[in-house]
């Protein structure tokens, strides 16, 4: 792919997405808002899976925790200011990720997968089995957070298109942040750890500290997505912390292509839209109820034939012939 095109393509995509509310379709606007929130979530996981080599199967913990943080921080029937509830929710996620990270990062491979899952399940049952977060019914968030500058309403989150633009902005900001971070010395060290952890240690890198920083950042970014999801739905329940959610975001990353940021975004689009299509009763009748079956098969096909995911497919079409690129 032409390098100038690759540079401007993300901006073009964001620009086009920003125009979407002109379509005036409430249903699709809400769906797209959900896609963009999931894209933030998927990028946060890709930082771990695709760039640090840590396959977490408990990432919903941070997503859900931010939602619960908003629900619990907000007064019951009044609005809460986004200016403090948003950073506070994310800080809680970052802190939780820092603490769990210190424990789970002592394990590797399959054990890491199991321990991250275990922590997420613990959190699930804390909210499911205690009155803290309203038990299995969850909590309603009756009023959306406000974004006021003095007396002026900067963004009205009750308005679908304004909320959509805020989500789009945060998605682009997350992308840019991760893009910068991954190109930095820190990001290069993470990639080195993913490729050859042992050698990084022998070169003098304090691997644990790098991984912990990555884990914490990843948890905080998942918190952005979780906060926004809670605002969108207007309620939280333990489902948002469940392992299904952790599995779904992992599938988005795999579907889109691990280790590419745009892959995570593409994966979120593909997953949410596929889910929407496959569970459409008008099209698939009785099979629509069992959309997971079809989704599972699709994921299997991608894993088998597109190990680089959909992003890899794009690259395959866009790249110049290998012989031309190789050697000088």
């Amino acid at each position: 792919m032409n390098s100038r095109l690759t540079k401007f393509l993300p901006w073009l995509v964001v620009g086009l997405l920003a125009l979407f509310p002109l379509m005036e379709s409430t249903f699709y606007l809400q769906l797209l808002t959900k896609v963009l929130i999931m894209a933030i979530f998927a990028m946060s996981l890709d930082l771990l899976v695709g760039y640090t080599g840590l396959v977490s199967f408990g990432h919903a913990a941070y997503f859900g925790l931010a939602g619960y943080a908003l629900a619990l921080l907000a007064p019951k029937y009044e609005t809460v200011s986004l200016w403090w509830s948003f950073p506070a929710s994310i800080a809680i996620c970052a802190l939780f990720a820092l603490i769990t990270g210190m424990l789970v990062l002592r394990t590797r491979g399959i054990y890491f997968i199991m321990v991250t899952l275990a922590f997420a399940q613990m959190l699930f049952f804390v909210f499911h089995d205690t009155k803290l977060g309203g038990g299995s019914d969850g909590i309603y968030i009756y009023a959306k957070p406000t974004m006021k500058l003095g007396e002026m309403e900067l963004v009205n989150l009750e308005k679908l298109e304004q909320f959509y633009w805020l989500v789009l902005f945060l998605m682009a900001a997350t992308y840019m942040l991760l893009h910068r971070v991954l190109g930095s010395s820190f990001g290069r060290a993470l990639l080195g750890i993913k490729v050859n952890e042992h050698r990084m240690r022998a070169l003098g890198f304090p691997v644990f500290r790098y991984q912990l920083a990555s884990f914490t950042l990843s948890g905080a970014l998942a918190g952005i997505a979780g906060y926004l999801a809670a605002v969108q739905y207007g309620f939280v329940n333990p489902e948002i912390l469940s392992w299904h959610q952790s599995g779904a975001v992992l599938m988005m990353v795999i579907l889109g292509g691990m280790g590419t940021l745009h892959g995570a975004v593409i994966g979120a689009f593909a997953f949410v839209l596929l889910q929407e299509v496959l569970s459409n009763q008008a099209w698939f009748g009785i099979a629509a109820k069992h959309w997971q079956l079809a989704m599972g098969m699709l994921i299997m096909l991608v894993a088998l034939y597109l190990p680089q995911g959909l992003a890899g497919l794009m690259q395959r079409f866009g790249r110049k012939p290998v012989a031309e690129a190789a050697d000088d």
Partner: protein
């Protein structure tokens, strides 16, 4: 926390001449010494009561048959394995049991017997990462990695020293075996160590590449303390200032090459002479 009070090595000079460290008299205090170093794996004693000294300006070659404990010894010195007993003193400080990244930051670099590099990265990025490990900016998360002239220069100098500057933009996986061995050394040099632990750097190299590597090690020995594990007897005798023979985890003999050659114990153990060592 990253710096440990030791002054960093000076930048390599142009022309591949690696540095001009304060030249320490060979007769002076050893920079690294072990006493009674022992490693047990369950009932197996892999390294038993090994005491040796490494001096700046000297190549200390360790030879012995397979399974003699040479690689385990290297792993004990580099922190890849914690010793069961004994001490490892680096400039008077006991480093036994420290982690490999701590020991690396204190100025002990190592190469691996089995090539251990970042295969999907370019040759330059391999060396750049190694050089980056020495900078306090390593945790900067916004400024882009290639923007540090000092790190780039150090990576470039290390590649030049190992004879790989013309391969900088190649993907490491596409290098020949010998070149990957050279890259292994370049990465080690980019961390600017004062002590080099080289585990069979010539393994699998052709005669031309071997010759090159021997020249490089000779040059490096002027301002580094080097422990070299090697099977190639020509290289061993071309390089060794001091020779230690290990058998079954123990030091059989240690001294100058001439002393070791004439040692009755060594002659007894290696009746057939060199070809046994070649195993």
């Amino acid at each position: 926390m990253i710096s440990n009070g030791l002054p960093p090595s000076p930048l390599p000079e142009q022309g591949g001449n690696l540095g001009s460290l304060r030249s320490q008299a060979v007769t002076g205090a050893p920079i690294l010494r072990t006493r009674g170093l022992t490693k047990r794996f369950g009932g197996l004693v892999a390294v038993s009561d090994v005491s040796l000294d490494l001096h700046v300006g000297e190549v200390h070659v360790v030879i012995g048959p397979n399974g003699a404990g040479k690689s385990t010894l290297t792993n004990l010195l580099s922190g890849d394995l914690p010793p069961t007993a004994g001490e490892v003193m680096l400039e008077g400080r006991d480093i036994a049991g420290l982690s490999s990244d701590q020991i690396s930051r204190m100025g002990v670099g190592r190469s691996y017997q089995k090539t251990n590099i970042f295969l999907p990265f370019t040759v330059f990025e391999n060396a750049r990462l190694a050089a980056q490990s020495r900078t306090p900016h390593a945790l900067r998360v916004f400024s882009q990695a290639e923007g540090y002239a000092e790190i780039n220069q150090r990576a470039q100098a290390a590649l030049a020293a190992a004879g790989l500057e013309h391969r900088a933009q190649r993907i490491a996986a596409t290098l020949s075996h010998g070149e990957q061995r050279q890259l292994e050394i370049a990465m080690c040099l980019a961390t600017q160590p004062r002590v080099l632990l080289l585990d069979e750097p010539l393994a699998g190299m052709g005669p031309h590449e071997s010759q090159r590597m021997v020249e490089l090690i000779k040059k490096l020995s002027a301002d580094h303390a080097i422990m070299l594990i090697e099977h190639d007897m020509d290289a061993v005798f071309a390089l060794a200032h001091r020779l230690t023979v290990m058998v079954n985890g123990e030091v059989l003999e240690s001294g100058t090459p001439a002393e070791v050659r004439s040692s009755p114990a060594v002659q007894l153990a290696y009746l057939g002479g060199e070809e046994l060592l070649h195993d």
